[in-house]
């Protein structure tokens, strides 16, 4: 979330699309309700009428997988009706940038596509630079190759009629939504988007979100209270675990995992440190080497020195251009390319797309370590349906973990708040906190390499591993390591610091080894002032918009609303006088600002505003979007692998034989896999119904933590499929009957819920066709309930996904339903 949960109450219009907040983030409705009571409009767009829709002022159904068509139509509506905030887009976004002549877009394809590799050469989409290497701009937005004009051109095709033909959403509803949401382009108004896996789990997932981000930029809704682009993260610490980068492609704090071509620390830092020649661009990532070197110091402590590149070579490198992502990982496992596998608090036998493939893949492992509270379908895969234990070689170690309330440490919520938890009871039986397990395992591995050298022992024996106190895992020691220490007595920006003291914030980190920080984003979270995440202050900030700056701690540097420099006009005064986030309060002398003071939230960089009160431009200011190389929000996004503007493509499995928007059918860069398990069937009469998956409030993820709880199982005891009354009639299915759902990859027995909340949609216009949609919760698995019949809906889903993130496409695929 660019904003945070409480801030939803400041919104004038709330769009819930690609998520079902009332069911999956129930307490968010505290703030949705508060906003509605103050007059905000709640819009729910979803293939299915949900508990969220039940509270909406406007509900619109849609065909799953057509979000870009719907949102692209909104962009066109905003542009046609000039609803955008013109000053905002001129100064804070790249709308004025001039795109180079090599950029083209023809009938669904952008310039630079290579049919053979299924990849784009995105250098064809680069901006035109002036003699100083600064992007050329036309702040009047008139240049025909300006982003603004290209945007107009690109979305001119997305008229309401065509959008309705693609999405099945009635034209009148689309127009109502566009008008209502677009109205927040007015100064002082804000709209917010609450989205989740309903947007990410598509072959166009990244572009779904980009389309919305572009809308928010056009309307001036980024950085303001009640606005932003808000990913509702689904796990209590999926934000923190992402910040610490338990992902193949990034190191803690979103640093890059080194590629093989980054042959030295210098080469690595050079490659990944962006360079801007524009003096008005803060280009915050220019500090990259300070963060990477400080991180290496935390990894290897005193063993990390200038002479050994701070241990850079000891850490693994990935091959350039190769993916090591979830889908790729299980593809490799399926092919028998791993011997060992760790699974920590996760259940890929049920949670991964194409779960059947994943379960087969596990048979090829020599050993697996499964760490969890309960046994699950992954650790016990060898005794699951269709498995013969006598033929499965995999050794499995199950390590019982403590529950969250039995240990101490912090987690980071979706609003980027890191919050400290305390130990209530001791871990049950012989279960242990994960931290203790990791520390002890690390010590065992270190001992093994000290005893018998083996290959490249240095990274293992040199790994700094002093996080025990009296033999017990000490979260405070790790939290301090993450924050970082001064490694020697140094003076930074005129302030003297002692060796061994905690670094006050990332502004003080150094690239010469004189500081450590396990994760620069969290530098400021545990300082000499104490454990900031443990704070419980009840006082609000002076703007009184629910920031609660003394409660817990939020990255970066306790900034509660990021991009907040865009919440003010060029003179530093808020667009919204009532719900202001920050405002400039420096002294004025003869029409000029003469001192620097911002009040409200922690500003996104404390520089002077762009303009003085007399309208003259300042040279010591910085553009609002400080994390972007050129300082501007990206309406044109040349960094994505599948195009700088989002474009509607059909899901890999879909009910239509062509894309009505262009002759490019599906995302031309979406990954597909080639094992015999990987079957994709589109427009196949055997699988005529559009399917999607979701969660329910009563269970969580694959249900490992909730299916064992009688109170929760009581409310949702069985896996189900929701189908419309019309489809039920067509297939002769009665409410509550067991049915068999099948896709090209697997089948699932489930209970039919025949409901008014799914309705057949007519697509492709009046002479078009009727599309039936069905939906499954993915919170079940064979192990519990003990009947063994309530299985994972991911047995049906395909292994394909978004080409940028490689998140699987589990929200739009094709199935059949039949009576048993």
């Amino acid at each position: 979330m660019t904003n945070h949960w409480i801030d939803i109450k400041n919104s004038d219009c709330i769009l819930i699309m690609g998520s079902n907040a009332a069911e999956n983030h129930p307490i968010s409705f505290k703030f949705v309700t508060e906003a509605q009571q103050k007059g905000a409009t709640l819009i729910s767009v979803d293939p299915r009428f949900t508990r969220t829709s039940s509270k909406a002022d406007i509900y619109a159904p849609m065909r799953s997988g057509t979000d870009i068509a719907i949102l692209g139509g909104m962009i066109k509506y905003i542009l046609d009706n000039k609803l955008y905030n013109e000053d905002y887009i001129k100064w804070y976004t790249n709308a004025p940038f001039i795109v180079g002549k090599s950029y083209t877009f023809k009938d669904g394809l952008f310039a630079g596509y290579d049919e053979k590799t299924k990849k784009y050469d995105n250098s064809k989409w680069a901006f035109e630079m002036d003699a100083n290497g600064v992007p050329k701009m036309d702040r009047n937005l008139k240049h025909k190759r300006s982003v603004f004009q290209l945007l107009k051109n690109h979305y001119s095709r997305y008229d309401i009629k065509l959008v309705s033909q693609i999405s099945g959403t009635p034209e009148a509803l689309l127009e109502k939504i566009y008008k209502t949401y677009g109205a927040t382009g007015a100064r002082g108004k804000a709209a917010t988007i609450m989205y989740a896996m309903g947007w990410t789990q598509h072959t166009v997932g990244t572009q779904n979100i980009r389309t919305m981000a572009m809308i928010q930029l056009l309307l001036g809704n980024m950085g303001v209270a009640g606005g932003g682009v808000n990913a509702l993260r689904g796990e209590s610490n999926v934000q923190g675990s992402t910040d610490h980068c338990l992902l193949w492609h990034i190191w803690p704090g979103y640093l890059k995992t080194p590629r093989a071509s980054n042959v030295s620390l210098a080469a690595y830092n050079k490659k990944w440190t962006p360079k801007s020649n524009d003096p008005l661009s803060a280009n915050w990532w220019q500090n990259y080497p300070k963060y990477s070197v400080s991180m290496l110091k935390s990894f290897f402590g005193n063993a990390a020195t200038k002479t050994n590149d701070f241990g850079y070579d000891w850490l693994p490198k990935v091959d350039d251009g190769k993916h090591y992502s979830w889908l790729d990982l299980f593809d490799e496992m399926y092919k028998g390319n791993f011997k060992g596998f760790f699974v920590w608090g996760q259940n890929p036998a049920c949670s991964g797309a194409h779960a059947g493939k994943n379960r087969e893949a596990m048979k090829n492992l020599d050993w697996m370590v499964n760490v969890n509270i309960f046994d699950n379908e992954t650790g016990s895969f060898w005794r699951g349906p269709g498995m013969d234990p006598a033929k499965i070689k995999t050794e499995v170690f199950f390590l019982p973990a403590a529950v969250s309330v039995e240990k101490e440490g912090s987690i980071t919520n979706s609003g980027r708040w890191s919050q400290w938890r305390y130990q209530g009871p001791k871990p049950l039986g012989n279960s242990l906190p994960d931290g203790q397990i990791i520390m002890e395992l690390g010590n065992k591995i270190k001992q093994a390499y000290k005893k018998d050298k083996g290959v490249l022992p240095e990274p293992i024996v040199s790994l700094k591993w002093d996080y025990l106190t009296n033999g017990e895992y000490d979260p405070h020691k790790v939290a301090k390591e993450i924050n970082g220490y001064f490694q020697e007595d140094i003076t930074v920006s005129g302030k003297a610091f002692k060796k061994g003291t905690l670094v006050p914030s990332f502004a003080f980190l150094q690239a010469d080894g004189s500081t450590s920080s396990g994760n620069w984003l969290y530098c400021n979270s545990y300082t000499e002032k104490g454990n900031m995440a443990a704070r419980r202050g009840q006082k609000d900030a002076p703007n009184n918009i629910g920031l609660y700056p003394e409660f817990a701690w939020c990255w970066p540097v306790n900034r509660r609303i990021i991009y907040n420099r865009a919440s003010v006009d060029l003179k530093g005064q808020p667009w919204d006088k009532e719900h202001w986030v920050i405002k400039f309060a420096g002294d004025v002398k003869e029409g000029k600002y003469v001192s620097r003071t911002w009040i409200g939230d922690v500003p996104d960089g404390g520089w002077y505003p762009m303009q003085n009160p007399d309208g003259s431009m300042r040279e010591d200011s910085k553009y609002a979007f400080i994390m972007r190389k050129h300082g501007h929000g990206q309406i044109f996004g040349p960094g994505r692998v599948d195009g700088p503007f989002p474009e509607h493509y059909e899901p890999i499995e879909c009910p239509v034989e062509k894309n009505f928007m262009s002759s490019v059918y599906t995302n031309p860069t979406a990954p597909q896999y080639g094992t015999k398990a990987d079957i994709y069937q589109t427009c196949d009469p055997r699988y005529p119904f559009v399917a999607t998956t979701y969660r329910v409030v009563e269970h969580w993820q694959t249900g490992v933590m909730t299916r064992h709880q009688p109170w929760l199982l009581e409310m949702q005891p069985q896996v189900f499929v929701e189908i419309s009354e019309e489809l039920a009639q067509l297939k002769g299915i009665k409410n509550g009957e067991r049915v068999l759902a099948s896709s090209a990859r697997g089948s699932l027995e489930c209970t039919a819920i025949v409901t008014k909340r799914f309705k057949p949609l007519r697509i492709a216009g009046k002479l078009g066709t009727v599309v039936h949609q069905v939906g499954f919760p993915w919170c079940f698995g064979w192990q519990k309930p003990v009947s063994g019949k309530e299985e994972s809906a991911n047995l049906l889903t395909p292994s394909t996904g978004d080409p940028n993130t490689r998140i699987p496409e589990t929200k739009a695929f094709m199935v059949n339903i039949a009576k048993i």
């Binding site: 934000q239 949670s351 170690f397 019982p400 242990l432």
Partner: protein
Amino acid sequence: MEVTRRQFIQISSTTAAGLAVSGLGFDLVPVKAHAQMLKTRYAKETTTICPYCAVGCGAIVHTSKRGDGRVINIEGDPDHVINRGSLCSKGAALAQLVENEERVTTPMYRAAYSGEWKKVSWDWALSEIAQRVKETRDSTFQYKNSNGQTVNRTVGIASVGSAALDNEECWIYQALMRAIGLVYIEHQARI
């Protein structure tokens, strides 16, 4: 930890009510617990954050100070500025997650081709795992890739997880995995 400001609702003449009930002169032991003494009265109170979705609601854990020291109640933290004491059905059931007889409380091992789990000690399990990590790493380690570039990586082991870990656990976890040389490191954020 400080639990500062409880927003108790105002109840008038509750004491009188209590007296009135006990003064009726007959057995009022109800069907279920209607005791006037709260079951949480002599419990240790700690604050926690709900482990399910990422709203980050606060809860108060009541742990018995007597007997086995287990959880007797978990409910919303009224001083938490997000949820102000409220919780959803999963959050409201938290006590049943902790005090659950189906939890596994000792390490287990399933041998190759075996049809069952057997209970093992922590020391045995961790020693065996460390040994397998070393064997697999040593036998699958790549110093260089096919282009001759230094890669120093272990390709025979993959690891997934976990958004269920605390921040501090995440950090030491990824540090260990990367030090071992893993490149296949993934978790819930990818799915």
